[in-house]
Each structure stands twice: as C-alpha cells, then as structure tokens.
C-alpha cells in the first residue's frame, strides 16, 4: 500500500533534512561561543521602550463610551442576569431564584435524557447532587449561567464561521490566523481593556470567556467539513445536489461527531476561564478559588475546583452522548415517555418555585469541608515526602537542559538567532515556513522584548516536546483500547478544567518558585487536549484497515507506526498544534509561579498602570511566538505529507 512506497521515499529524503538542520545547530553553537553577549537586546524589569510608552499613552483612545459596545454590554449583561435570576440569584423580590435546585436537577437530567440517553441523565442528576452536597450550589449555578451564556453566544458565531472556513480555502487561511491570535493572546492582555469597554462584572466576564472559547468550535467545524471524503461530495454533486443540499445532507451530517467535539471543547475552554474571569468579578466558583488562594487554602480551592470539574464532566458526557445519538425520529413509546417526563419536570419546577425544601439545597456543606480537609492533608503529605526529591529533579533538569538551552537563545546576538530560526524554518518547511518566520522574528524585535521572548520560547519548546510525547503515548493507548479510554477520560477532563490556580500551591511546594514549576503546570494543562485529539484520530482509523494489517501478521508496534499514526496524521498535526497553543496559553499562569519573562510582563501590565504598554507588547510577543511555531510545524507537516506522496489531501485542496 501507500505506506510501503512512502517509506522508500522517506529513506531517501529525511536524512538530508535532518543533516542540514543538525549542521545548522552546530554552526549556531559554535557562533554562540564566539559572539556571546553581543546584541542580546536585554531590557530590565521596570524599563520600557518608546513603543511601550506610546501604547500606554493611547490606551484610552479606543471605544470609550461607544454606542455599539454599550449595546453589546447591555444585551449580554441582561442575558446573563436573566439566567442568574432563573437558577442562581434571589430575584423578583423573592429570597430565592425562580427555579430551585429540584427544578434545575430535574430539567438538566431531562435534557440529558432527551438529547442523549438515560445513562447520562443519571450522571447529570448525580453530578448536580454532588455539587449541592459540596455546599457550592449557588456558586455553581452562577458559573453555569455564565458558561451557558458564553457557550451559546460562542456557538452562534462559531458554527457558521466554521462552516464557511470549511468550504472556502481563503476563509480557512484567514480564520486559522485569527483563531491562533484569539487563543494565544493571553486573556490577561484583554481583560483590563475589556473592562474599559464593557465595565466590570458578568457582561465583561462573559465576553472574555467567549473570545477564549469560540476558537475550538470554529476550528473543529472547519476541520470536520474538510475531512469529509471528496468522493462523498462528488457523489452528491453528480446526483445533482445543489451546494446547499450538499452542505445540509452530506457535509454536516458526516461531520456531526467532530462538530460536537468542537462544541465540547468550547464548553471545556469556557469552564477553564472561570477562575480568570473572576479577576474582573465574574460571579461563581472562580471567586471561591481566588479567595481560598489568598490564604493558600489548597483544600477549599480544590473543593470548588472539583465542582468545576464535575460540571465539565457532566456537560462533556451529555454533549458526547448527544453527538453519538443517531439522527432518527423517536418512536411512539419514547415520545410518550418524553411527554410524561416533561410533565414531571414541570411539577418539579413548580415545587422548587413554591417550597423552601425544593428551592434551597438542603446541605450544610459537610461533604465539601471533608473534601477540603482530606485534600489539605494529602497535599501536605506529598510535600513532606517528596519535597526534597522534587527539588533535586528541578535542579537537574534546569541545569542540564533548560539553562544551557535558554543561554543559547538569550546569549546569542538577536540577528544570529533570527538567522538560525529562519534557516531552520526553510529547511523544515520551505518558503511557507521561512517567510512567516522572518516576519515574526522581525516583529519580535520590534516589540522590544526580544530577550524575554527567548526565555519564554525556551520553556515553551521544552514543555511542548514533553506534551507531544506524553499526548501521543496516552492518545494511542486510549485510541486503541476502549476500556483505557473510558477510565482515562475523567482524568483528562479534570486536567483540562481544574483551574491551574488550584494546583499552583502544591506545585510551588514541590518545586519552589521557578521556571520548571511553570513548565510542569503547562504540561499538566496541555496534555489532556493533545491526548483527546490523538485518541479521536486513532479511533477514526477504519477498522478494516487495522484488520488488514493485523491479518498479514503485523505486530502491534507495526500497526501503530505504519498504519494508525500515518492514517491519523491530520489529527496528530492538529494535536501538536493545540498542545503548543495550550502551552502558550499557560505562559501567563506560569508567570505567577516564577517563569518570569513574557508571562510576568503581561501580568505586570495588568497590575501596574505605567507598565500597561509593555504588558500589551508582551501579549503580542506571545502571539508572535505562537504564530511562528504554528507556521513552522504546519509547513513541516505538510512537507512530510508531500514527500510521502499522499496526494489525496493535496488534490482535494486543489479542487476546492
């Protein structure tokens, strides 16, 4: 098959590229020893450049008192407050919300059952009950209101955009660029300006969440539509379907499960913003986390983090079940049951509206206090037992790997690093990579934060390599083994949605305040998404293909490396890309535990008015690093594909 011929070609081509790259690196190291310390463009912590001061002076220019922003704020704000009045906050002159806990649980379970199946309905009821027992009912409902608002508004924009980007190559290119920007631009950078446009509170928090959460839905919708086999599209066309018919009858149904993965990712991203949004007074669980961290109360922070995770798991399972449910009309029996259920829900809502026992969750939060106490003692135990050992690991990795690598990047003259980066990009990805690389390095110099960018780049690259290695291993394992997948998924969801703020304190205790701590936190945050996408890709490999390989006596390793990985190549490229972007999105959080550099600059800009311009420039520098790395990996991946002679993807691209 293609695998065999492509191997032959790889044998010829690949060594040459790696040799060139290797020679480049050797030349760089040699030049570093000669030119060390010249033109390193260092900038002190409190120092600023003319650009930063200019940004500082002009920050109030945009949008103050703008009618459009005002309108958006009022609309979004009212929407969120309406949801809050319904399920979380005392409203309409009553001491309780319109719908109490019984109504919310019944309604949520009913929806889960109607759109998914009875299993997720039970899970939903259990999950909500658990949150109530934790003593976090009201906070959770605040968070849920905000998340529902942000996700609905995101999807309203994202799905049409995704379809457009799936159908048009040009839109796809523009969208990819904008999405990279939206996902890598640290939230902290636009958090402060957002409060200028949209004031403080739920509206601004929802909009910040929306900006962060919409990209996965756009990206995966576009990805899904582009992955529909061209044969199916051509078949539909040849049968005389119009463009609209092809879209609604072929493209959308065939890409439905991936679109649902996109919706799912959007929900996860929205929930991961809960704590950050709390910095501008978003109501809900994020507040509890932040307040607990002020006194380093890991237990209480973990308890509310756990509530976020439970919400995430419930929403994830329900959307997944909804995605898996075949599109067919319900039979008579199910319809009757649905009707009966609806009546039951209405009764429950009426109860929860009328009676105190059904309105206020009957719990004094004993379970939550218990969880908090256990977490605190576990965390203390881990610190006591592993404390010394982990410091050793940190010092070993930092001295053997991070410091030399960072020294090479920061100690070389900027023009040398820039030349090496552009040359490497050209070797790995051709001009498609070299041109963006040149532009990005040029702009990085212009931000005035070259040296900080190089420090961040060093940590980012190391973290990404670890993330990709771990994500591939776990993803292949989960993709090949259904049972592993079932067990690992709650952990992945937890890793992705547990606010990093919660595990910062134990990590600080284990590794001290250092760049290594930041790398570790980024890895924990980025591995889940990489694993999920890889597992999804491996699972999508047609069973027949795997069976064929097995029947000719291939070993498991051969099946993985010659069949599953190559066939799932697109998913893997996407996984690497997302892993990278998730690592970059943690740069600012890393700045809170000692990573310094760009992450620190951004949060300093958020905190100190005269460093605002520098913070904005640092945010842009993070975006530039993201675009640079993304372009190079994408172009390199594309080139590898071309070498392998797999012209299926290319030809499809040409036809569209």
């Amino acid at each position: 098959m293609t695998a065999i011929t492509s191997d032959a070609e790889i044998e010829v081509r690949r060594p040459r590229r790696s040799v060139v790259a290797g020679v480049l690196l050797v030349v760089w190291v040699a030049a570093y020893f000669l030119l060390r310390g010249i033109d390193t463009l260092a900038l002190g912590g409190q120092d600023t450049t003319a650009l930063h001061r200019w940004l500082n002076d002009h920050r109030y220019d945009l949008g103050q008192g703008n009618v459009l922003f005002g309108g958006i704020r009022i609309a979004v704000g009212n929407f969120v407050v309406l949801l809050q009045d319904l399920i979380s906050q005392p409203s309409f002159d009553r001491p309780v919300p319109v719908i109490g806990w019984l109504g919310v649980v019944a309604l949520a379970a009913y929806c889960a059952w109607a759109f998914g199946n009875w299993k997720v309905a039970v899970l939903t009821a259990a999950g909500f009950g658990f949150i109530g027992l934790q003593g976090l009912w009201q906070e959770s409902m605040d968070t849920l209101s905000l998340t529902i608002a942000a996700v609905l508004l995101s999807l309203l924009v994202a799905i049409p955009l995704g379809i457009w980007a799936g159908l048009s190559d040009r839109a796809f290119k523009v969208a990819t660029l904008v999405l990279d920007l939206m996902q890598t631009l640290p939230t902290f950078v636009y958090l402060a300006p957002l409060t200028l446009f949209f004031a403080i509170g739920p509206a601004a928090a929802t909009i910040a969440t929306l900006i962060y959460a919409a990209p996965p839905a756009v990206r995966l919708t576009a990805h899904a539509i582009r992955s529909v086999p061209p044969e199916s599209v051509e078949a539909a066309r040849s049968l005389g379907s119009t463009r609209g018919q092809t879209l609604t009858k072929v493209l959308l149904p065939m890409s439905r499960s991936t679109v649902v993965v996109g919706i799912n990712q959007t929900i996860m991203a929205a929930l991961s913003m809960v704590t950050v949004a709390a910095l501008i007074d978003a109501p809900g669980l994020g507040q509890t986390v932040l307040t607990a961290l002020r006194t380093l109360d890991v237990g209480v922070a973990f308890n509310s983090g756990l509530a976020i995770v439970v919400l995430a798991i419930v929403l994830d399972r329900v959307t997944t079940a909804a995605g898996d449910r075949p599109w067919r009309t319900a039979n008579i029996r199910r319809r009757i049951l649905l009707g009966v259920g609806a009546v039951g829900v209405l009764v429950a809502i009426w109860f929860s509206h009328t009676y105190v026992w059904a309105a206020e969750f009957p719990s004094d939060g004993v379970l939550g206090a218990r969880i908090a106490a256990i977490t605190t003692s576990v965390s203390n135990w881990v610190q006591d037992v592993f404390g010394g050992f982990t410091y050793g690991v940190r010092d070993a990795v930092t001295n053997a790997l991070l410091n030399p690598f960072e020294g090479l990047l920061t100690g070389s003259p900027w023009w040398l690093v820039a030349a090496v980066v552009v040359a490497l990009a050209a070797v790995l990805g051709g001009w498609r990579a070299a041109v963006p690389a040149a532009v990005c390095t040029g702009l990085l110099v212009a931000t005035g934060l070259w040296q900080d960018s190089m420090v961040t780049l060093a940590s980012t690259l190391i973290a990404t390599v670890v993330v990709v290695a771990a994500g591939l291993a776990l993803g292949v394992w989960a993709g090949r083994n259904h049972r592993v997948d079932v067990w690992i998924r709650p952990l992945l969801d937890a890793g992705q949605t547990m606010p990093p703020f919660v595990y910062l304190v134990p990590f600080l205790a284990l590794f001290g305040s250092s760049r290594f701590t930041a790398i570790a936190a980024a890895v924990v945050f980025a591995v889940p998404v990489t694993t999920k996408i890889v597992a999804d890709g491996i699972k999508a490999v047609p069973v027949a293909t795997v069976e064929a390989a097995n029947s000719v006596g291939s070993s498991s390793w051969q099946v993985i490396s010659k069949v599953q990985l190559p066939v799932a190549r697109r998913a893997i490229t996407l996984a690497i890309n997302q892993g990278l972007i998730y690592v970059l999105s943690m740069v600012v959080v890393g700045g809170l535990v000692g990573a310094g550099a760009l992450g620190y600059d951004v949060s300093a800009g958020f905190a100190q008015s005269d460093l605002y311009g520098k913070g904005l420039a640092a945010g842009l520098a993070i975006v530039l690093l993201g675009v640079l790395l993304d372009r190079v990996t994408q172009a390199a991946a594309r080139r590898t594909q071309n070498y392998q002679g797999s012209n299926r993807i290319r030809s499809r691209g040409d036809k569209r």
Partner: protein, 317 residues
Amino acid sequence: MKRLRYAGVLTAVALALAGCGGQKIADDKPAAGGKDCGTFNLTVSPWVGYEANAAVVSYVATKDLGCKVVKKNLKEEIAWQGFATGEVDVNLENWGHEDLKKKYITEDKVAVEAGSTGVKGVIGWYVPPWMAAKYPDITDWKNLNKYAGLFKTSESGGKGQLLDGDPSYVTNDEALVKNLSLNYKVVQSGSETALIQSFRDAEKNKRPLLAYFYEPQWFFNEVKLVKVNLPKWTAGCDAVPAKVACDYPPYDLDKIVSKKFADSGSPAYDLVKRFKWTNEDQNAVARMIAVDKLTPDQAAEKWVKDNQPKVNAWLGR
C-alpha cells in the same frame, strides 16, 4: 409494566404530599435596606488585610446603617477604573499609587480622598526567622554580599537570589541591587501565593530565602519574618527611581471614594470617612479570616462586639 405505573403514581402522590407539607417561600423580602443609606459598591483588593477592612466596614454599614453593600473582588488598577465607570464607590486600603491619584482625582475628578485608615504599611526585604537566628548579622544590608552564596538557586544565574512577589507590588528592587552593588539577581516569583509558599517552605525546611514582603500581613501570625535593614529612608532619597539606594518609605494607607458617593450625602460616606483603626486591629480580623477560617462577616461581628467604642466613634455616636 402495570406495577411500575403504580409505583410511579404512588411516588408522585408521596412527593406531592411531602411537598405540600413543606414551608412555602415568602413572596416579599424582609424590609429592604434603610431609607437614606441605599447601596454602595465596595472593591475588595486581593489581600487579607484589605478583606479585614472590608469585612468590618460592610458589617457596620449593613447592621447599624441598614445599607446594602455590594462587594466586588477586583485588582487595584481595575478598581480605579471602576471609579470612572461608576462600578466602584469605595476603596478601603490604598497603597500610594500617586500616578493613579493624579489621573482619577486630579485630572478626571471622578474620585476623592477620604483620609487615612490609620494602618501603617511597611515594605522591605525579609528573611525567615531561622536565618536571623543562625546569622544574626544578616539583617544589616552591608553583610548581604557575604551571604550571597547561600541564596543561590537554579533561577539566579550564579548570584544570590532576591525573590520578588506580585507584579502589582510597588518595588525598586532592581535599582537597589544595582546601586548598593549587591551580588544578587532579582527573580520574579510572580504572585503573593508563590511568595508566601516560598517563605513557608524556607522556614519549615530551613532553606535560605531573601525576599520582598510587606506588613501588615496575616502570614506574620504564622511565621515571624525578620526585616533586613537597608540604608535608612530620608525624605526625597527615592525621588529618582533609577537612583534609589535607600529603604522603602513608611506608607500611610488611605481610603479613596468616588466623587458621586462623596456627594451623595449617604451616612455610609461618613462612616467610610471616619473609619480608622490600627495595624493590631486589622491583624486581629485578618487572623480570624486567614487562620481561624471564619467568614469575613463572622470575623467582623466578633471584632465589633469587642470594640464597640471604636465603632461608635466611626458612627459619630
């Protein structure tokens, strides 16, 4: 099937009976707020000392004046912006911020000063108590170079490490290290959480640590950090940031309110203006919140009960 249906009907009836037996929700709220106080928005900055101020003031305003207090958890800079947008009325502990005062008070005229809180702020370099006991002369800055080797870490590039905290802190540390010719590198821990955790670990495991910190701070109840004396502060010695070679000045922490709130004639404004206590008072409340894990309201109630004369003075009684 039939049995199931019966079970369903029975459950529904049982539920209905149980429900109807429960207490109904009252339609009207208990009389909302006092007549002349109304609502004010109080920003709560992210440190426990501030939380103590906010707890006591909002407790007194709610209980004695019948006001409705809306607390908003905000970073300082965002809170200052809130004076302009009308989202924030009161800031109960402001650390200097001359630049922001200039913008929002002098230029935009959206905020006004409301006097001192009586709390004195101290900023400086601190070491854990075990170090001060073992190396008594470390508290003099002149000896810091002697001990630089102790403070070396994986982050400090061969020099001693001076750990800095949250980016919102007021700091001259880079200039100080340079101007006092200290063989140290300023390393950013990036957050107060990281800083406190580092001190906790340093004291517990006897690791050397030199770091920026401030008083009043609840953490002093747990570990009594020792301040390193830098060259004494004199008026004007810190006028040019890049040339600073002296200690941080003592801070008189003050209150800021929005212009709108100051002109409203609300009794809450008089309360905020008269509110004044001491480091010990604030520390007592902060301790109850941070160490004893009381809610801010419980802590405030307890303190108010023991200090009624002070509260009466704020209320003008």
